[in-house]
């Protein structure tokens, strides 16, 4: 069973590196070492919930079980473009654009 395999497994450095890549974080070797131990301990502790029988129990998507609400599709003013671009760390306000490194 998946749950029992997880409970038995220890978090590895390679898994921590893989998760850091997914999260767009660059970790030092010292951070990898620390997080492998700390996240491993937290996940071991969190694995206790796998003992709870949740067959047929729906997953919560809203704390009070409420669903979406509707509003009229009416245009309203949004934030001022120039002001937003002036607050951006790397933009070309006169062109009206955010800037990013070349992607193509």
């Amino acid at each position: 069973m998946l749950a029992s395999r997880l409970m038995a497994s220890k978090l590895t450095r390679d898994e921590v590196r893989r998760v850091a890549t997914l999260a767009r974080l660059e970790l030092t070797d010292a951070e990898i070492e620390l997080f492998t131990a700390q996240l491993g301990a937290i996940l071991d502790y969190a694995s206790e919930i796998q003992r709870i029988d949740t067959s047929g129990v729906p997953a919560t998507s809203h704390a009070l079980g409420e669903t979406g609400v509707w509003r009229n599709d009416q245009p309203v003013p949004s934030l001022d473009r120039r002001e937003i671009l002036d607050g951006a760390p790397y933009a070309d306000p006169s062109a009206g654009l955010f800037k990013v490194p070349k992607v193509l």
């Binding site: 937290i42 996940l43 919930i49 949740t54 919560t60 704390a63 009070l64 409420e66 609400v69 934030l79």
Partner: protein
């Protein structure tokens, strides 16, 4: 220090009355508060940012109004630094937002200012509200005014200190797993986390969107009722903010005869310090003397609250914090490729706890682990909600200590994140179930550290909690005790 006619620990309610009687002015009150912050905040570090000119100009404008109108007319207030005020910084305790200036007002800011409140500054918090001590603030922690060697609690620690130490009569915090109630308890003030959806989250820098709520931190229960009356209500910019009209001030009748209070004794067996347990037991006796009926309730799945909370909240945080990408706001560290820019910006800008939580949440959501961690946690969350629903068939409120111990020492738990997380054992249940909960001072330990009584209510029943806590406060000395400052 210059003597001031305004009591350092006056409540909002009494200050508002003094303004009505023209015994003081909004400007005088604002100056007094700014002086107290300037004189007293050095060792406490409650404030991340103070905005004297903006505050004084607003106070003067209020004094020019024909007569005081709003519920908070002339009342100085401090806001946790994860709440947006147009033209002011909002660091959320993070280096990644060190130079950010908010281009808009949070909905609560609009509501507060419409009611006449005067925003004097922004308070220290754990980075992105992730923490239970303010030690995760990138700009240094706040300190507990009852003992400067101890933490004030977190993550809204600066707001708690500002109110407890007699700097501002009112503050706002935000609560995701206990971040209003826990520092309120550890600093000896009142803190209220409203029902999920009672208060708009527009302009609150998101941590975990299914849990986050803004709420008041005050010197009295009546002040919390007054502030909630101002900040609550629906908002077209936050579709989760609902219209459930209620009057909180009118609920404070002092009469709690016949109200039923349930105590989850089994959950308390997970460990409560003797001094906290003693104060809690006494508070139950007081409530009984006032006519409340105390009985036992079972919340069998609440013992799993910590793992469920730390899986759900970190998963949501890993998604919410993806917006800090070096492009639109905050820190930017350049790179050859867009991925290198993302990685360098985020690695330089986020602190250790935020990285840890992003990692944990990313792991819990990642392929192969989603079912075992994230989905499982959301299923157990459903069971936790069901336990509360059943309990509220028999009682009007659930009572438990806000925290298992009084304030701990700075540095005591920073090396062991899991130990830090366990400080939230009694506070994570209410947000997981979307329920309102408040903490009211209920005693001092032999070391003269405050203890909080927590009351959790059914959804939208803040009025019941406020009535219970107000009646309790009227016959006990605790809310009237203050640290020596």
């Amino acid at each position: 220090m210059t003597p001031s006619p305004i009591d350092r620990f006056a409540t909002v309610t009494s200050l508002r009355a003094a303004l009505d009687r023209r015994e003081t002015t909004a400007e005088a009150l604002c100056r007094t508060v700014l002086d107290r912050i300037a004189a007293g905040d050095g060792p406490l570090h409650a404030f991340q940012h103070v905005s004297p000119e903006r505050a004084l100009s607003r106070a003067r404008a209020l004094d020019r109004a024909p007569r005081p109108a709003g519920l908070l007319h002339g009342i100085p207030i401090a806001l946790k630094d994860n709440i947006a005020v147009r033209g002011l910084p909002a660091t959320a305790g993070s280096r990644i937002l060190e130079h950010y200036i908010s281009p808009f007002d949070a909905t609560v800011v609009e509501k507060l200012e419409r009611a006449g409140a005067v925003i004097v500054g922004k308070t220290v918090c754990d980075e992105f509200a992730m923490g239970s001590s303010t030690e995760n603030c990138a700009y240094g922690p706040s300190r507990n005014p009852w003992d400067l060697d101890r933490i004030p609690g977190g993550s809204s620690g600066g707001s708690a200190v500002a109110v407890a130490a007699g700097m501002t009569p009112l503050a706002l915090g935000s609560d995701t797993g206990g971040s209003i109630r826990q520092p309120a308890a550890l600093c000896g003030i009142v803190g209220l986390k409203p029902t999920y959806g009672r208060v708009s989250r527009y302009g609150l820098i998101a941590f975990a969107s299914s849990l986050d709520q803004i709420g008041p931190m005050t010197r009295s229960v009546a002040d919390a009722a007054r502030c909630l009356e101002v900040i609550s209500g629906p908002d077209p910019r936050d579709s989760t903010a609902g219209a459930r009209p209620a009057s909180f001030i009118a609920a404070l009748s002092g009469d709690i005869r016949g109200l039923r209070i349930g105590v989850p004794y089994a959950l308390l067996e997970s460990g409560v310090a003797d001094d906290v347990q003693a104060a809690f037991t006494q508070s139950l006796e007081v409530l009984q003397k006032l006519g409340a009926v105390v009985s036992r309730v079972e919340l069998p799945h609440s013992t799993s609250g910590i793992p469920v909370y730390y899986l759900v909240a970190t998963a949501e945080a890993s998604s919410n914090l993806a917006r800090f990408d070096g492009v639109r706001y905050g820190l930017h560290v350049g790179g050859e490729t867009i991925d290198a820019m993302y990685r360098r910006t985020r690695s330089a800008g986020f602190g250790a706890e935020v990285k840890r939580r992003i990692m944990l949440g990313t792991y819990a959501l990642s392929a192969g682990y989603y079912d075992a961690y994230y989905r499982k946690a959301q299923q157990v969350r459903t069971l936790i909600r069901g336990d509360f629903e059943r309990a509220f068939e028999a009682v009007d409120a659930v009572a438990l200590p806000t925290t298992p111990t009084a304030a701990f020492k700075l540095g005591e738990r920073t090396g062991d994140p899991l130990q830090m997380y366990k400080a939230d054992v009694f506070t994570v249940g209410a947000p997981l179930a979307g329920l309102p909960a408040l903490s009211v001072p209920c005693g001092l330990t032999p070391n003269h550290l405050p203890v909080g009584l927590q009351l959790v209510g059914p959804a939208w029943e803040e009025a019941t909690l406020l009535r219970l806590a107000d009646a309790y406060e009227r016959v006990t000395p605790w809310a009237g005790l203050h640290p020596r400052v």
